[in-house]
């Protein structure tokens, strides 16, 4: 039994004798392919050639194959079938270096190290920018342009309206957001607004107004910056409620019941050329008082469900009160 199987079968008996049939077979295939583009009769001829020569080829091959063992039986007995060599058996493809050789030729050690080191460097050059491209954009360039909500007349004093707008009009409806807005009248000769985000402070579902929504009185407007806003009045708003898990808030956005961990987020605003403009949004723990006289405990904007006060705040990025 040959341990390595190099000579199994022997050099001389290595397959069928040469044959011309494969050439005809190939011509047939080419004929089919050309015929597919040129004409159907050519396909038929090609198919016929392929079948005929394929048959002859297979017959030739199998005859040669089947007759081989018999011829060898008389000459040298049945050949040992060549067993498939598992990868871990047989001789290694390259001779292994003995310790003595490694000591004599430290160059091989150097080449090993150089290959691994260069490979790591090339890998890093490719990987670092790719991973950075995947992760870093999530943390930079997060502002938005000012959001123009039209003239102050849109907002009657002391009444709530539902306002739809776009965070970034250029990016389309996926950035459409909602704020509940109430005009509180003049305070220190400046218009005062209460602007509450509809993003629930539990897990971010849209809170709904507890009042009579009047969709027939909706006003659609186009304002500067490509904004398309819509304003719908709500009569008798007394609370906000979240449809997802039942979080409840009073009309200032303070949590009154359910799973939210803080009050509703709010927007800072500005008056530009007589128009109400939303600037940034921020998070709120609680609000004391109402309307223009409200004292708001402000924090930097954080995600829903994240505590900004109380002992649980140690689990989240530090929030200095602002």
């Amino acid at each position: 039994m040959n341990p390595v199987g190099v000579n199994a079968g022997g050099e001389s008996s290595h397959g069928p004798p040469p044959s011309l049939w494969p050439v005809g077979f190939a011509v047939g295939i080419v004929c089919i392919l050309v015929g597919l583009i040129v004409s159907w009769p050519a396909v038929a001829v090609g198919a016929a050639l392929t079948v005929i020569f394929g048959f002859l080829w297979i017959r030739d091959v199998s005859r040669g194959h089947a007759s081989l063992p018999q011829a060898e039986t008389e000459a040298q007995g049945p050949p040992e079938p060549a067993p498939a060599l598992p990868a871990h058996k047989g001789a290694p493809a390259m001779p292994e270096t003995t310790p003595a050789e490694a000591a004599t030729f430290p160059r091989s050690k150097f080449l090993e190290g150089a290959t691994l080191g260069l490979g790591a460097a090339i890998g890093a050059v490719v990987t670092v920018p790719a991973v950075g491209f995947a992760l870093v954009p999530a943390f930079v360039d997060q502002g938005q342009p000012d959001i123009d909500l039209g003239p102050i007349d849109n907002f009657p004093q002391g009444e709530w309206v539902i306002t739809h707008f776009h965070l970034r009009p250029a990016e389309g409806d996926v950035t459409r957001r909602v704020a509940y807005i109430r005009y509180n009248g003049l305070s220190d000769n400046k218009p005062s607004f209460t602007i509450i985000s509809n993003r629930c402070a539990h897990l971010g579902c849209p809170v709904q107004p507890g009042g009579l929504i009047q969709p027939d009185k909706t006003k659609d407007q186009k304002t500067s910056g490509g904004q398309e806003i819509s304003i719908t009045p709500v009569v008798g708003l007394s609370s906000f409620t979240c449809p997802c898990h039942g979080g409840s808030y009073d009309s200032e956005g303070n949590r009154t019941a359910g799973p939210p961990v803080r009050g509703l987020d709010r927007w800072t605003y500005d008056i530009k050329n007589g128009n109400l403009v939303l600037v940034t949004n921020y998070s709120v723990s609680t609000v004391e008082g109402t309307g223009a006289n409200a004292v708001i405990n402000k924090y930097r904007l954080t995600g829903p469900g994240q505590h900004v006060d109380g002992p649980e705040q140690i689990f989240y990025p530090w929030q200095p009160p602002t």
Binding site: I58, R59, V61, S62, R63, H65, A66, A82, P83, A84, L85, L135, P137, A138, F139, Q142, L167, R168, E171, G172, D173, V174, T175, L203, G204, C205, P206, C244, L301, T302, G303, P304, G305, Q306, F315, Y316, P317
Partner: protein
């Protein structure tokens, strides 16, 4: 008699014609031997139907792989077009309803089968030495499979999938310390925007399937290397007799006695 002999000769010819290309491939690659080694390995005599749950899970994954590749030919991961393209697949394209249905319901089948397979391995004690590493790989596969479910759920881009994903991302965001960063990475920003959908799509159809295929390969490699375990009620002794420990030190939890016989 002559007729019979002629038949046999033809049969030999046909067999030779079939065997020749197989031999050709085997001689040059050893792939046929490898395939035989994989398919016809020895298993304990008292394995039963519960041992097929792993193969069933693999089949469910392959169904997801194939239907997913085909769905990707028609789906458009753009906030303005995603929902329309799903409607188009379901309502207009020939057999689209079937392939999408296979992918949608097959997702649940895949997850359920993973849990059944895990329960079998746990209850049969098949996670024990020397198969602990395969249990760990299986747990990673379970996590990746559920992440596939989470990212795939957004793709129809309807109200249910949108708000479910908002809530899902924000649940991740409430995890202590790392949560807010994970949420931002998932969204690709502070807010869900136009890139969030394509981000989920890429994770769902490229990143996670690649990782899962790699881990399944490792999982199967270890199954082949370590063999299939007998059920706990088996009367056959698994593996060879245990050799006497050479050292006199007491084997304990951190120094188990030699158990060469099992890991063949």
């Amino acid at each position: 008699m002559a007729n019979n002999k002629k038949k046999t000769a033809r049969r030999e010819t046909i067999e030779a014609a079939i065997i020749y290309p197989i031999d050709w491939l085997e001689e040059r690659s050893g792939l046929i031997g490898g395939l035989r080694y994989f398919l016809f390995r020895k298993v304990p005599g008292d394995t039963n139907w519960f041992h097929t749950l792993g193969s069933a899970t693999l089949t469910a994954f392959l169904v997801q792989l194939i239907t997913g590749v085909i769905l990707a030919m028609y789906y458009k991961p753009d906030p303005d077009k995603a929902y329309q393209s799903i409607r188009h697949i379901t309502d207009d394209i020939t057999l689209g309803w079937l392939v999408r249905g296979m992918h949608k319901w097959g997702a649940s089948v895949f997850i359920i089968l993973m849990f059944f397979h895990m329960a079998r391995v746990f209850l049969f004690g098949a996670y024990k030495y020397p198969r602990e590493l395969n249990w760990i790989i299986g747990v990673l596969l379970l996590a990746l499979g559920m992440f596939e479910g989470f990212t795939g759920y957004l793709l129809p881009w309807d109200q249910t999938s949108y708000w479910a994903t908002v809530v899902g991302i924000n649940i991740n965001g409430t995890a202590p310390f790392l949560g807010p960063f994970i949420a931002s990475i998932l969204r690709g920003g502070a807010e869900i925007g136009p890139d969030t959908l394509s981000r989920f799509y890429s994770i769902h159809m490229l990143l996670l399937p690649g990782a899962i295929i790699g881990l399944i390969t490792l999982h199967l490699y270890l199954v082949i290397r370590l063999g299939v375990s007998s059920p706990p009620w088996s009367k056959e002794a698994a593996g060879d007799d245990r050799p006497e420990p050479e050292s006199t030190a007491r084997p304990g939890l951190t120094r188990p006695g030699p158990r060469r016989g099992i890991a063949r």
